[in-house]
Structures are given as structure tokens and as C-alpha cells.
């Protein structure tokens, strides 16, 4: 499954770009709306779905095991501190859940990122994610796999 964006709903605010842990929500160069640039790398974490203030992001199920007709949608209400889910099955069964937002306020347990150092353009363009490699408890460079160690003929 991967996320996709309803273009008429998106207003290009950037919340999904900001929150995506896989860094695959980007801004389209033709219409300045969000898009998932690499659906294969989507973690299905629903972070962007929940963060979108316009409910413009949805998750598409693979047609073989989640055929057309089902739906999993979510409404996040910050002011109430709630996350509501609506699960719709193919046979019409509906399940509704409401749970509290358990995310701690910014700056308490989550670092207040806006107060941190602004990254330079080199860091922004780098493949590394925020706090890498220190956050992975690695000294120096990220580990690499030498190309010659690849098995031949099995990658496609």
C-alpha cells in the first residue's frame, strides 16, 4: 500500500513533506501540490495522512489483497486531542474508532526542531536523514555495501 494525494484537496502547505519519515512526500513541479515520489518506499505509517489539514492524502490498497471498495480514513483533531478512524470493509461493514493523540508536545520529549540549527544546502541535498549518522550510533560514515560483493544476476 502507498499514499496518494487528491489534487483538488491539496493546497501545498507542506505538512506531509515535513513529517514523512521516508522523505518521499515532495512538491510537484508542475502544479505545486504534494505527491508521493516513490510509492515503493512508503512505510504506510499514515503520518502524512494524519498530518494533512485538508484530508487530501489517502492510502491505496493493492488490488489483489485489498480490492476496490474498502477504505481506511482518519481525522486528526488537534484542538480536541483525538484521532478518529473509519474503517469500511468491502461487504459494507463499518467500524469507527476514536483514540487520544499520544504524541507529546514539541519540545518536551520531541526535540523542538524549529529552534535547532538551520541546515545548509549541502545537508539538505544530502541522502542522509536528520541526525544521521549520530542518531544511528555510528561513528563517521554510514555503512556501505561494496558493489563487488553483490551476487550477480539476482537483482532486477
Amino acid at each position: 500500500m502507498s499514499t496518494f494525494v487528491y489534487m483538488t484537496r491539496c493546497d501545498g502547505c507542506g505538512h506531509c513533506v515535513d513529517i514523512c519519515p521516508s522523505d518521499i512526500m515532495h512538491i510537484d513541479e508542475n502544479i505545486r501540490r504534494a505527491k508521493n515520489i516513490e510509492p515503493n518506499f512508503c512505510w504506510e505509517c499514515y503520518s502524512c495522512v494524519k498530518a494533512c489539514p485538508n484530508h487530501a492524502i489517502d492510502v491505496r490498497g493493492y488490488a489483489d489483497f485489498a480490492p476496490m471498495g474498502h477504505s481506511v480514513r482518519v481525522r486528526r483533531e488537534e484542538e480536541k486531542g483525538t484521532i478518529s478512524w473509519k474503517i469500511k470493509f468491502r461487504n459494507g461493514t463499518e467500524k469507527n474508532f476514536v483514540s487520544p493523540i499520544t504524541t507529546k508536545p514539541w519540545g518536551k520529549f520531541i526535540p523542538k526542531l524549529a529552534d535547532g540549527d538551520k541546515p545548509n544546502q549541502g545537508e539538505i541535498n544530502s541522502q542522509r536523514l536528520y541526525t544521521e549518522p549520530e542518531g544511528l550510533n555510528i561513528d563517521g560514515e554510514l555503512p556501505t555495501v561494496p558493489k563487488e560483493s553483490f551476487k550477480k544476476g539476482v537483482y532486477y
Binding site: 501545498g12 502547505c13 513533506v17 512538491i27 481525522r75 483533531e77 486531542g81 483525538t82 473509519k86 514539541w106
Partner: protein, 266 residues
């Protein structure tokens, strides 16, 4: 300058029928560009299919009166104040650009069609509307372009990186800016000096780019976005809600949620 109709001065050299023909041509370009866009993106078809789906999922049949109430409220609030942008700088910049452009276009059409003949007396209000509209568009558009664009604000791209999505906003700023400068130079009574003519040519070119580029630019969003807002609010009212869960009804047990930061964590 703010009280002078720039098109009546232009009418001394260019017949007003030519100016009126230019406006009609621009309207035809908008219609053609939007129709091509609709055919290419199939978005109107999508809208109607979505509306059919919503009707099937509706839990409540809306009366005509309720529909009219929802649509009127959407026009007055969601569309009129671009509420989807939330409270903040993006909304203010958008409102400046939106109302500036509307004033600029209405001012242009009225002055060209009613007061562009050489001996016509233009009421002061129309040139005022035209110039204020141009200034508002320049201010809102430039604010958006330099600081608030999502590419700059959330993706940390440099402000000078130009992409296809910028065609609309840049053409809009260029039209208002060149029009405003042309009007200013004309008011100096330069007797056809090269720079006044240059800005007139730039004003015409930027209009051609703005209206001729509808198919390639984001111009048509001013038609689609209101449609999407009306559909969204009708879906909320009839209970289909695009499959979204209803707003939570037991907030007191969970207390206050968190206030998220603006998307600037590139």
C-alpha cells in the same frame, strides 16, 4: 496617476475597439485553455463520479434549501476567505493576490469597455480600483513568491529556482507590475518615450503569457478549487464525508491536543 485612466490616454494612439478586441481575445484564451485542461486531466469527469459516489454513501437527503445554504456559506466563507489555507501568512498573501487580481481585472474591463474613448470622462473610482488592485497583487504575489511558496518554506529550495508551477504566479505579478509601471510612466507625460512604450509592450506580453498559458499553468485552479470546496462541504452536510470519520464527540476525556509547528523541518 491613481486617478487617471491609463487606457483613455492609450486611446489617443490605439483605437478603443482594438483594446476591447484584446480583452475578448484574452477571455477566449481562458475558455480554450480551461477546456483543454478539462479534456486532458478529466477532472470534471472525476468531480461528477465523486459526486455520484457521495450520493450513494449519503446518510441524509439534503433539501434544495439546505443545499443552497451550504453552497452560499461555502462561497461566502470557504471561497471568499480561502479558509482552506488556515490562519496565517499564506492566507493573507492569497487574499491580497486574489482580491487584487479581481479588482485589477474588473477595473480593466470597465475602463476599456466604458471609458476608453478619447473624450470619455472616467469616474475616479475606476482608476483607483485598477491601481490598488495592481498593488495588492504585486504585494501578495511577491510575498508568496519570495517567502511563502512551499518549495521555499518547506523544501528549502532557493527563491530563484523557477519551475513550471511558477508560470501562473510569475505571469500574474508581471502583468500587475508592468501595468502599474506603464501607467506611472504614462502619467509623467513623456510623449511616447521609449520606456513607456517598452512597459506597454511588456504589459501586453505578460497578459498573453498569463491568459495564453492557462493550459500549462495553475490558472484553472481558480475554477476547480471553489468546485472542490462546494463538493467537500456538501459531502459533510449529507453525511458521506468522503468516507472520513465524523468529528470526535467525546473530547473532554482526552484533554487538549498538541499544537504542531509550521512545516519547516527540512
Amino acid at each position: 496617476m491613481f486617478a487617471t485612466n491609463p487606457f483613455s490616454i492609450l486611446a489617443e494612439t490605439v483605437p478603443s475597439v482594438v483594446m476591447q478586441g484584446f480583452v475578448v481575445l484574452m477571455i477566449l484564451l481562458i475558455v480554450a485553455g480551461t477546456l483543454l485542461d478539462i479534456i486532458h486531466k478529466k477532472n470534471v469527469k472525476y468531480f461528477f463520479e465523486n459526486a455520484k459516489k457521495a450520493k450513494k454513501n449519503a446518510t441524509k437527503e439534503l433539501t434544495t434549501g439546505e443545499r443552497i445554504a451550504v453552497v452560499s456559506k461555502t462561497i461566502a466563507y470557504d471561497i471568499g476567505t480561502t479558509s482552506e489555507l488556515g490562519a496565517g501568512k499564506r492566507r493573507v498573501a492569497h487574499l491580497l493576490g486574489m482580491y487584487g487580481t479581481i479588482l485589477f481585472w474588473i477595473g480593466s474591463v470597465v475602463m476599456i469597455f466604458c471609458y476608453s474613448s478619447a473624450n470619455a470622462e472616467t469616474p475616479t473610482i475606476w482608476p483607483m480600483i485598477w491601481h490598488v488592485g495592481a498593488l495588492m497583487t504585486i504585494l501578495g504575489g511577491s510575498w508568496f513568491w519570495f517567502f511563502l511558496r512551499v518549495d521555499v518554506y518547506s523544501e528549502a529550495q532557493p527563491w530563484y529556482r523557477i519551475i513550471k508551477a511558477d508560470l501562473f504566479v510569475l505571469a500574474l505579478i508581471a502583468t500587475s507590475l508592468t501595468g502599474f509601471i506603464w501607467s506611472y510612466l504614462q502619467s509623467l507625460n513623456l510623449e511616447g518615450r521609449w520606456d513607456a512604450n517598452l512597459f506597454l509592450v511588456l504589459f501586453i506580453v505578460s497578459n498573453l503569457v498569463l491568459f495564453g498559458g492557462v493550459y500549462w499553468s495553475k490558472f484553472a485552479h481558480m475554477f476547480y478549487k471553489p468546485g472542490a470546496a462546494i463538493q467537500k462541504n456538501l459531502a459533510e452536510a449529507d453525511g458521506s464525508r468522503d468516507n472520513l470519520p465524523p468529528p470526535a464527540d467525546a473530547p473532554e476525556q482526552f484533554g487538549l491536543g498538541i499544537k504542531r509547528e509550521q512545516p519547516k523541518h527540512y
